[in-house]
Symmetry: C2
Subunit: 413 residues, 2 copies
């Protein structure tokens, strides 16, 4: 994989020009994307900036994020050839930091669960996960050092785990969702994929102009609360093993680790996530559903069909639960710095029929808290399995620091 932080260091030291760095990514995409299929379209003559912290960094943009210079097709024939007028704010943030938009990456239709044709670079017989399939795969395959995805249930953390890359779903609205095709305005969150946690920190800091996100040289040993989310069912053996190994590594590296039970209201929030998501999806996709129903792929169409009866009262009740759960969750962080849990039930499922299960992700999206995927171990078939590090709302720096601690602890195990 291409390390963003490493590229930056070499560019800063004039060991590598921004043009050469971009040319490397272009070549890597040329070489690999015929097999992997991570890109929907690519910039024909990518512009290279000579200033900005992300000069020389080629970025893939999930194809539900609007771009003025490349089509934005939402993974759906309904938007074939659609050309937005403007770049989404988050794309402008990248450009302002000097990044080069390399192309648009594959997405499941409207970021739901109908799979794309993208392969998992670690094992071509398995899904890369979704909905940010192309972004995870392009970083995992070493094509580009940075990619944007979005998460409404588990669409950033899950594909990152399946592809063995680092990823952050930042605090809700740290990255604006304006110009990003909406599925659920309460849940949709823009996130980043990169080779390692340090790369995420450098990328997020540059995009947001937030120096506090840059990693310190020294990492404090965090107080970790391990949560197993029993309300979401048991993990597969590989998922359990990833959490066991990560916990062991963190403990050996000096972290304080203890198991934590989540309050009942938080479990209740996990249960109502679909109500909130689908009620808003019926509004967000009303035009598509009413005027192009037959062009909506089967899994999304079925979900919308099943949930047409949701009422404002159901939605209001779900929002009240979410608000109470956010308060209860915040109190847990008085005693621990971060939570540690599964990124997915196990390794990437076989075949391309499913993008996997977001049941261990959706709660954290609803809570709006920052989550970082850290690859924890490699299961049979070369398939990576990840864990997620979760911090208090707004403490993205803390989530990244603790994730780097876990990542380094795993490397030393």
């Amino acid at each position: 994989m291409i390390s963003l932080a490493d590229l930056q260091r070499r560019i800063d030291a004039n060991e590598l020009s921004p043009d050469a760095a971009i040319a490397q990514s272009v070549e890597a995409v040329d070489a690999q994307d015929k097999t992997i299929g991570a890109f929907v379209c690519r910039a024909e003559d990518p512009r290279v900036a000579n200033s900005g912290p992300l000069r020389g960094i080629a970025v893939g943009i999930k194809d539900i994020i609007e771009t003025s210079e490349l089509p934005t097709e939402m993974g759906s024939s309904i938007y074939r050839g659609f050309r937005p007028r403007a770049d989404a704010p988050v794309v402008m943030m990248l450009k302002r930091a000097g990044a080069t938009i390399a192309g648009k990456t594959t997405t499941t239709a409207f970021a739901f669960v109908d799979p794309t044709a993208t392969l998992n670079p670690r094992n071509h017989g398995h899904t890369p996960g979704g909905s940010s399939s192309g972004s995870a795969a392009a970083v995992a395959a070493g094509m580009i050092p940075l990619a944007l995805g979005t998460q409404t249930g588990g669409s950033v953390i899950r594909p990152a785990a399946f592809c063995g890359v680092a990823a952050i779903k930042p605090s809700f609205r740290m990255l604006p969702t304006v110009g990003v095709k909406c599925y659920s305005w309460t849940l949709d969150t823009v996130g980043l994929f990169a080779a390692g946690v340090k790369d995420l920190a450098h990328g997020l800091s540059a995009i947001t102009s937030r120096p506090e996100l840059m990693p310190d040289a020294a990492i404090a040993a965090p107080r970790i609360g391990v949560v197993t989310q029993d309300f979401a069912g048991a993990p597969e053996p590989a998922g359990g093993e990833a959490l066991r190994i990560a916990t062991l590594a963190a403990e050996r590296a000096g972290a304080t680790v203890r198991e934590l039970a989540l309050p009942d209201i938080v479990a209740e929030a996990w249960r109502i996530h679909p109500t909130l998501q689908e009620y808003e999806a019926h509004h967000a996709l009303a035009w598509e559903y009413r005027t192009h129903r037959d062009a909506i792929p089967p899994l999304l169409r079925a979900r919308l069909d099943e949930t047409t009866g949701l009422l404002p009262a159901d939605y209001d009740a779900a929002r009240r639960v979410a608000n109470r759960a956010r308060k209860a969750l915040a109190q847990l962080f008085d005693d621990v710095d971060v939570l540690l849990t599964f990124s997915a039930p196990g390794a990437a499922p076989k075949g391309l029929a499913s993008t996997g299960d977001p049941r261990f992700n959706r709660l954290w999206t609803l809570m709006g808290v920052p989550c970082v995927n850290v690859p924890a171990y490699v299961a049979d078939g070369g398939l990576p399995v990840g864990v997620q590090v979760i911090a208090r709302f707004g403490n993205d720096a803390g989530a990244l620091e603790a994730a780097r601690f876990v990542e380094e602890a795993l490397a030393r195990l």
Copy 2:
């Protein structure tokens, strides 16, 4: 003006067909819009539904709200001829309720303060206010019974006050802002204009499928807290007179009325509103500002130029103040049902150079609470002056009921 509730009653009773109701509006627009200039474009052959609570209701849509069948130009040459692919969710909500989209109404560029050429139907020498200029004017002139606007500072309540129509800025996100050109994602709120408060209630209830918003036959006398927002400066004499008259009317009609001081943190929230608004606007309009700066009109361009230095830390501090103020404000509603305050400093300013001052509105947009404009009296020159009735977040039904109480009390005065 055309009363929505009255049209509904006549259509329900088969005294009027939906087609005839729409034809009336089309004729009224034909007759008046050459003078007023409330519409940017009109539906050539407006579709009339035969079912739904809003069948026969012609609606004007502010031209920053995306429509699939009419251009959406954002009040700016940058978007000349822009054709969105989809209808915004709130447009689909209208269509699902049976409403007919009559056309797109004028908006200041990107809903900021550079004026449109729309005239105030009450006095052509005065501004109709902004940024939802066309929506307020079209309802005031009796062209249409319902129009959509948006408010980030005071863009719904202020033009409603200046044009002498009822309007509601509902609780934040009651109406989705997806597909609405963003200025500030924390503030932008979709609202409605109609002839009277009952018409607003019928309209909002039908759009949202929320029966609890429909007016009851009996109205309880509310406990009213009168707030003068001294931190925002003194009103003009006409604004003060409107509040005095509305207070007197409410008291005579049996309401419990007392003056209330707002907590210091709420005043502080008023002060930081521009920080929050402009920090987000720099992101929301980054593409326009960076690639089409010269085409941005002078007042907006100057505001963006002045605020380029805002930092994430300024923004975070502003958000913390807003959160604390929301909690403090919620406590006030333990003792009163609604607040009553100025809708604008006074009557509509003379000429078209300014859309007026949102200083008595912006706090309530930031607080996310429902606000209803009620025309309170007519000043010299036939210029209406309004007051706003404000309820707790989520209590839109209570805001509408108390506003109807004040409206009826004023009629009996």
